[in-house]
Amino acid sequence: MIRSDVLKTLIPIISDELVVTNIGLPSQEMHLLDDQPSNFYMLGTMGLASSIGLGLALAQDKKVIAVDGDGSVLMNFGTLPTIANNQAPNFILLIIDNGSYGSTGDQTTYTGMKTSLAEVARACGCDNVVECAAEDTKDEVVKALAGEQMTIIISKCESGNIKVPVIEMDPVVIKDRFMKAVNA
């Protein structure tokens, strides 16, 4: 399974949740598969999906799922201690770990080599870290949504991309409809 296959399996369960999607293909794939006002598409700022998701989860009570990538978490490793030390029971960080920079031509990341994000997250003090195979991601997200604690899910999937159009929606429109969904 590649990232878009994993996202497809998640649509029925995250469609109505607040979802923050990482720059590039993760945002574009979510936009193509299931565009919702409750999706916040990052159009830039690689690395900050988990930080935006955590800030959102700390500021209000609804569940928040940040769909991040291994390359982006590697870029913003400082996010993991912040997540560990600022308890947001309503926060789920889903890292689609395909061991590559998918949006830029599938160059290998260090998680595709020796680095384990699950071990790093645990070492940073994150209590509830799950690493799973791509096909088990849906079950883990269902469990995390039903639970009452912050969860980091690392979904190990294959590298590869589908052809998707860029998002042409205005960023202020994305923000505005997302904030209305948060308040709904």
Binding site: V20, F40, M42, L43, G44, T45, G47, L48, A49, S50, S51, I52, G53, L54, G55, L56, A57, L58, A59, Q60, N76, G78, T79, P81, T82, N86, P171, V172, I174, K175, F178, M179, V182, N183
Partner: protein
């Protein structure tokens, strides 16, 4: 009243309830007050661009955020300011310890000080330079202006200002 107390009062007057910080010696007093405040959530960040992500999320969640950092942070936050805060049109008050100005004991700090205003100007970020302790009285109005305009706004507070801490 010390400038730390004036800043705290200004943040309260503007309903700021989510503050992320990366420390600086000059900011120690105000960061301690934020940590102790029951009406503000304090989320220390490891890097200032991470802090801006936290503020963006908190803002969309209904909070009124602020970031407290040193001016050296401008060097690591230009992308976050341009592609997140400005692109999505979000307010972000930046209370900045302006190192490298007159009174600075560390020569290296001057190297970023000479670029600070030019970089903020290049980004078209409204910038206010606090040099005397009484300048702190403007904080509340500037914070209000920031949320009205939904833009990042920089308050540069130099060593002479912090003598009022």
């Amino acid at each position: 009243m010390s400038v730390n107390d004036v800043i705290m009062q200004a943040m309260r007057e503007n309903g700021i309830d989510f503050v992320t910080t990366v420390p600086c010696k000059q900011l120690a007093g105000v960061i301690e007050k934020i940590e102790q405040a029951d009406d503000m959530r304090h989320v220390p960040a490891n890097r200032e661009d991470e802090g801006m992500g936290l503020c963006a999320g908190a803002y969309m969640g209904g909070a009124k955020p602020a970031i407290i950092m040193q001016n050296t942070a401008i060097g690591v936050t230009i992308n976050a300011l341009a592609t997140l805060i400005q692109f999505y049109r979000m307010p972000l008050p930046m209370l900045i310890s302006y190192r490298g100005e007159v009174g600075e004991p560390v020569a290296c700090q001057v190297e970023m000080a000479v670029h600070t205003k030019a970089l903020l100007d290049q980004l078209s970020i409204p910038t206010y330079h606090f040099h005397k302790p009484e300048d702190a009285q403007e904080t509340s109005a500037i914070l209000s202006h920031c949320f009205m305009a939904r833009k990042p706004v920089a308050l540069l507070m130099d060593a002479t200002f912090w003598k009022g801490a």
